[in-house]
């Protein structure tokens, strides 16, 4: 998958590129935290369109569904490295729920990010096919988001 390369590279170089530069004062929320939350919010926003169709609150519309799923695919390929700068986890930053384990298991985090990328591409295909395939793809997409949150996000 060609898209995964920049993604993996981006995450893997997080420690090198962004290290000391961004992990400064604890008093303020580092921009990296805001940036990754914004990425997450964009996932959620685009899922809103798909979810409304799945739950029957909006008529199925192949174009709208494909566009929303396409956005999720693109978001999942952003070079994410600097957004996950070391020292910006929940142990250091009040506003973050990112568990320190992220920086100890970067390989696994990357594989979970790649799994999301795959589930998003499967959704993009399904979204064009019809409502039932879309409904079925929702489960795997949700599982891909959840798998990372389960391991790496502090419960509320």
């Amino acid at each position: 998958m060609t898209m995964m390369k920049p993604l993996a590279l981006g995450l893997a170089t997080a420690a090198l590129v962004a290290g000391a530069a961004i992990a400064e004062s604890h008093a303020e929320t580092p921009p990296a935290v805001g940036a990754r939350k914004a990425q997450m919010q964009l996932y959620a926003f685009n899922l809103g369109t798909l979810g409304a169709m799945v739950q029957g609150n909006m008529d199925y519309d192949a174009d709208a569904a494909t566009a929303a799923a396409g956005n999720i695919v693109k978001l999942s390929t952003l070079a994410a490295g600097p957004m996950w700068a070391p020292g910006t986890g929940a142990d250091a930053v009040e506003a973050s729920r990112a568990l320190p384990a992220i920086w100890e298991n970067m390989d696994d985090v990357i594989s979970k990010a790649m799994a999301l990328n795959e589930a998003a591409m499967a959704m993009e295909t399904a979204a064009a096919e019809g409502l039932e395939p879309l409904q079925a793809a929702m489960k795997d997409l949700g599982a891909a988001c959840g798998a990372c949150h389960k391991e790496y996000r502090e419960p509320e």
């Binding site: 899922l47 979810g51 739950q55 949700g142 988001c145 959840g146 798998a147 949150h149 502090e154 419960p155």
Partner: protein, 293 residues
Amino acid sequence: MRWLVNFILLALVVVAIGLWVTRPKTDDADLLAGLTADEAHGEEVFIASGCASCHMVEGATDEAKLVLAGGQSFPSQFGTFRAPNISTDAEAGIGDWEAIDLWNALHHGTSPDGSHYYPVLPYSAYIHLEPQDVVDLHAYMMTLPADATPSEPHDVPFPFSIRASLGGWKLLFLDDDWVMQGELSPELTRGRELVEAMGHCAECHTPRNLLGGHKTGAEWMSGAPNPAGRGTFPDLVTLDWSAGEIEEYLNSGFTPEFDSAGGHMALVVENFAQLTAEDRAAVAAYVKALPIQ
């Protein structure tokens, strides 16, 4: 001195009667005689009941979830419990158990050697399983892999370390009556089975009294603190999600804001995502029918 002797004798009699009244109960194998096992249904019961969520190795995913080697710990107000090995290994696990042994564990909370289990094994939910469910569950579990990892001991201080004291707990709180009563539609009846008997939702979502028993009535499923410290178990009574939103949550883990389920609930979602859409709708119908009148 005579009074003291009498007093001690009386106390011993009271204790003896107490232990007799609260002795671990069991049923004979006759109870299950004539029932034919259906492994496929047993798998459904296993998934809906979340057995693997507690008995798998911490953090296991996919196929590895079926290796029921135990070891996860469960902090509570009474100490820290550890899930035992319930794989098919005859030494370390329960490979040599008959269906009736599983019935006695899940229905009565009684072990094959006749002692009480702690209610952290949620038999106050599983008591509602039918004999057929347990026969099927047993047959399915016997198809799962064996693992020789020995079970770890609990870390539970005195007096809770005395299993005999659990007889009193059972007398007070172990009840095979359903919490949701009355004339129920077929959907709600199925929802009740999935919620109260199998999914043991109340184990997390219902507050407990000082003795660790579930509160019922309006407080049933009204949320509770998490004994593991972090976070709380949300109130499902005042939850303002639509039935469709609850179904989606149980299927993909997405909340109405498209955040995803976290904590232990993520494991529940992994299980319920494997059930049918009708089953998820039945659970949603039950949640929407709260509070208990």
